[in-house]
């Protein structure tokens, strides 16, 4: 039974050899020189206990990522958080608590875990390969010590000598899927050893190896993938080139040549709002974007529908519907009467019912640049306190309320600005509620003339826009394949049972053939007793015996059956019951 104890410390030896060898390994610390120290460290790292420790550590280390805002998900929230918590915000940053999953300490834990995993899997795979090719272990001297043990007696008039009995037992076990070796078949006490359930260990190895596969696939995605965002107003076309994106996040090894110049045009965007369920009226229940796509500039156009949970795939990327809103269309003429800006302005969602903020920057206005900031409400209401709010997400009473400014917008020096924010510090207000001119309130079709001849603004209509995310992840498919492999391995490993059976026969002086058998499981196996009963039944049928001898018959009881039951009725001793205890030996280490 100890054929692989030394090779494979992670498997236990039912009789305890593994513990001895592990104890030795642990005690091997002193005076071994650098190589010895290294070997000792490796043994420690690849021990089951370290694996457990690292696993638990990984679980703990993942938690802070859910407590603090994370940069990759939301960089601006992190910046705000640091501002809001001047006392410890910076400190947390030093500890990489805003980048938990790429932090040095988190990476260290999972890398160590995976090194340990490799150090664990490789020797086990070798050992298992050898075990699969070697013969079942030798027959123990005393089968009665095994957790499942029984005897059968073939009467002398059946005419089955010990050697025949052992070969027919071998046949029975082979049929049941065991690998069998018969020993000493011509001798006085012929015996056989049989083993099955190698798939358990194979499953375990596949599981652990696939985890490495998943990790590598994720890394590949990070290296060669990319993602980006774009806002499309109805009528807009996105072309998949770097300039086509509003925001672009390349993987570490990204090359712009990877981008296939496909195009996507948003034709129409429809939303269905809930009009029936109480308390939820106005909640959107369906988003649907009609788009026209072209694989290449010269390819034929195709009509497709883009929905939440239903991305459009194009040129090796997937396009996802992730946001939407209203874009009021405005025309702004400057002080000289020329059209300085015309078109839809993307309004950013701020509150319920598409209450959105609007910022319009008009750098082309002359003689002075113009800026507008305010709100767009699809269904404007004014409360008794004079606060306006949006009463409905649909365009029942659209309204644009704006303040206006003139001066230098600060765009000319080329430094990037947030299009959704207007920095009014260097601007002079023209319209605001607290000024004589008041604020600007526009309904579709109306226009307003700015004070001091600075120009006019007209509100021409409203369009809808959508936000799309575009992703390319070359590791994704592999991650899925490895994940599926992992589950398959896991199921094998948890549900296949590795079992050994030994049978020994002998001829009694009075001509009867005595048969004894014993079973042993590797690892947790609550059904070993059932297996023993099944084997017993098959053997009895083979020799046409009564499988359940009377009370005075030869010993057939599982010697261990008394162990669990003190309260239960004695009847549980029958071979068909399954004691819940681990009938198998302890896996240890």
């Amino acid at each position: 039974m100890s054929e692989r104890v030394n090779l494979d410390k992670n498997f236990s030896d039912p009789v305890g050899g593994a513990k001895v060898s592990e104890a030795k390994a642990e005690a091997a610390l002193p005076a071994l020189g650098p190589m010895g120290m290294l070997r000792w460290a490796w043994t420690q790292l690849t021990s089951m206990r370290t694996a457990l420790f690292l696993l638990l550590l990984l679980a703990v280390a993942a938690v802070p990522g859910s407590l603090f805002p994370q940069r990759p998900a939301n960089p601006s929230v992190v910046t705000q958080y640091i501002k809001d918590n001047p006392d410890y915000g910076k400190l947390l940053d030093t500890l990489q608590l805003y980048d938990v999953y790429s932090s040095a300490w988190f990476s260290a834990i999972y890398l160590l875990l995976f090194i340990s995993l490799i150090g664990c899997v490789v020797p086990r795979a070798i050992a298992h390969y050898k075990a699969m090719r070697s013969q079942p272990p030798r027959t123990p001297k005393r089968l009665s010590r095994l957790p499942e043990y029984g005897t059968l007696v073939i009467p002398s008039d059946a005419g089955i000598p010990a050697s025949d009995a052992i070969s027919s037992a071998a046949g029975v076990l082979k049929e049941r899927g065991y690998r069998v070796e018969v020993r000493d078949s011509g001798g006085e006490r012929p015996s056989l050893g049989a083993e099955r359930g190698f798939a358990k260990e194979v499953g375990n190895l596949v599981f652990h190896t696939s985890l490495i596969g998943v990790l590598v696939s994720v890394a590949i995605g990070g290296l060669f993938g990319y993602s980006g965002q774009r806002i499309l107003v109805e009528g807009d076309t996105f072309v998949n080139t770097l300039v086509g994106y509003d925001q672009f996040t390349p993987g570490t090894n990204f090359q712009s040549g990877q981008l296939q110049p496909y195009s996507v045009q948003l034709d129409k965007f429809d939303i269905t709002f809930d009009r029936e369920s109480e308390g939820k009226v106005g909640q959107p229940i369906d988003f649907s974007a009609a788009v026209t796509t072209k694989e290449n500039p010269d390819a034929p156009a195709q009509k497709e529908i883009l929905k939440v949970n239903d991305p459009v795939t194009l040129g090796g990327t997937s396009i996802y519907l992730t946001g939407n809103g209203y874009a009021p269309v405005v025309t702004i003429r400057d002080g000289e009467g020329n059209i300085a800006m015309q078109g839809p302005v993307v309004a950013k969602l701020q509150g319920d019912n598409y209450y959105s903020s609007v910022v319009i920057k008009v750098p082309d206005a002359k003689p002075e640049q113009l800026g507008f900031a305010g709100f767009f409400l699809p269904t404007a209401f004014v409360s008794n306190e004079g606060i306006s709010f949006s009463g409905d997400p649909e365009l029942f009473n659209p309204q644009l309320t704006l303040n206006s400014y003139y001066g230098d917008l600060g765009l000319d020096d080329g430094s990037p600005q947030n299009v959704f924010e207007l920095d009014v510090q260097d601007l002079t207000p023209l319209n605001a509620r607290n000024l004589d001119a008041g604020g600007i309130t526009l309904a579709p079709g109306s226009s307003y003339t700015l004070p001091d001849g600075k120009g006019t603004i007209s509100f021409d209509g409203v369009k809808r826009y959508i936000g799309v995310d575009i992703h390319h992840n070359p590791g994704q498919l592999y991650a899925l394949i490895f994940a599926l492999l992992a589950v398959a391995g896991l199921i094998l490993s948890l549900y296949v049972n590795r079992r050994r059976v030994w049978v020994r026969t002998g001829t009694h002086a009075d001509g009867r053939t005595m048969v004894e058998y014993g079973l042993l499981a590797r690892g947790e196996d609550h059904r070993l007793a059932a297996e023993a009963a099944a084997v017993r039944k098959l053997l009895s049928e083979e020799w046409k015996l009564d499988p359940e001898p009377g009370p005075d018959g030869p010993s057939q009881q599982t010697p261990s059956s008394a162990r669990d039951n003190n309260a239960g009725p004695a009847a549980t001793a029958g071979a068909a019951t399954t004691p819940a205890g681990p009938t198998g030996p302890e896996k240890d280490q």
Partner: protein, 361 residues
């Protein structure tokens, strides 16, 4: 376009939930009564036995000690792991500590209150099932689209799983716990999370909702059972230790509960199934996330906690194969795993911002 809402069905559903909660409450009382009554009966039997052979208790501790020593001597000792604590060795079969049948099969004796309790639980489950069904019909979709529905449907699955296991194993000692928890879930659903029948937000309109959430709920129900068993395992181990050391048996009702070792073994087997379920939950969640948001993993808070739970239970499975970590420590890991499940469901759903925040409050 999702189809119409049926308010009347929704109202029936709420009525059923209320009736179910009421029925469960009576079942709970019956289960508690069973515990009290049986432990009294068992104590009486014990007392008689003790009067008959007074000195029987003394050698128990000693015996427990050499049992683990004698591990190699023969199969009789194999029920105990060499690594399990002495408490467990003592808990099993040693004369002083009485525990229920170890393989949790039904024994011969009749426990009338327990039968009543189970019958009531079945009745409650039927009504509860009707409640879940009418909710689904009322909304025209699967009944797990918001916290209220997660709770009511989850509670139903927990009861159903419990009753299914009861067919084969006598886990009636878990009755007070499971039914008690289910009552809490139903009450919390109606009081704190009540939501009228409604449509799903677009983010949830996907067949992955059906697959991903149903497996998550099922695994959680299994984790609920193992949590209860692990908690009882700890209590039982302590009790056995105390009794083995010659102390008085203060927790008489624990006689109805099997030994710590049998609890550990059965909960391991259930945890193994639940772990596979949770692995699927994680994977299907990732596939869905890819469909919905364009990335299969993004460390969103909900994803983080699903991962943490997975790793903790992986740790649990490892612990069961690691020397010195079986028994009590493994039970603690199982408990910690379940606390994470609860945390993930309650706190994370409500207070943590993330992409999953639409769970609907």
């Amino acid at each position: 376009m999702p189809y119409g809402i049926n308010e009347t069905m929704g109202q029936y559903s709420e009525l059923f939930m209320l009736l179910a909660a009421g029925t469960y409450t009576v079942a709970f009382i019956a289960f508690a009564w069973d515990l009290a009554k049986s432990s009294k009966a068992l104590r009486a039997i014990d007392l008689k036995a003790a009067q008959a052979e007074e000195p029987a208790r003394v050698p128990v501790g000693a015996r427990a000690g050499d049992r683990s020593e004698s591990q190699l001597a023969g199969p009789a000792g194999r029920a105990e792991r060499p690594s399990s604590s002495a408490a467990q060795a003592a808990g099993n079969g040693a004369g002083g500590v009485v525990t229920a049948d170890a393989d949790m099969r039904y024994a011969g004796e009749r426990r009338a209150p327990a039968r009543v309790a189970v019958a009531l639980t079945v009745l409650g489950a039927l009504i509860h099932g009707a409640g879940v069904l009418t909710r689904a019909l009322g909304a025209g979709r699967v009944p797990w689209g918001n916290m209220y529905e997660f709770l009511t449907t989850g509670a139903f699955v927990a009861v159903a799983v419990f009753l299914l296991v009861l067919i084969r194993r006598d886990l009636r000692f878990l009755g007070t716990f499971v039914v008690g928890l289910v009552i809490i879930m139903l009450v919390a659903a109606s009081v704190a999370y009540w939501t009228p029948v409604g449509h799903l937000v677009p983010a949830l309109q996907s067949y992955w909702l059906i697959i991903h959430v149903s497996i998550a709920v099922l695994s959680s129900a299994l984790f609920t059972l193992t949590f209860a068993m692990s908690a009882l395992q700890l209590v039982q181990a302590r009790r056995s230790k105390a009794v083995a050391a010659g102390g008085a048996d203060k927790l008489g009702f624990m006689r109805l509960v099997p030994s710590a070792l049998s609890l550990e073994n059965l909960s391991y087997r259930i945890n193994a199934i639940a772990f596979i379920g949770w692995t699927f939950t994680l994977m299907f969640g990732a596939i869905w996330a890819e469909k919905a948001w364009g990335r299969f993993w993004g460390w969103d808070t909900k994803e983080v906690w699903t991962f943490v739970i997975w790793v903790v239970y992986a740790g649990y499975l490892h612990a069961r194969a690691t020397r010195g970590w079986t028994g009590t420590r493994a039970a603690w890991l199982s408990i910690v795993g379940y606390l994470c499940v609860i945390f993930n469901f309650t706190i994370v759903n409500q207070f943590f911002n993330g992409l999953h925040s639409y769970s609907g409050l």
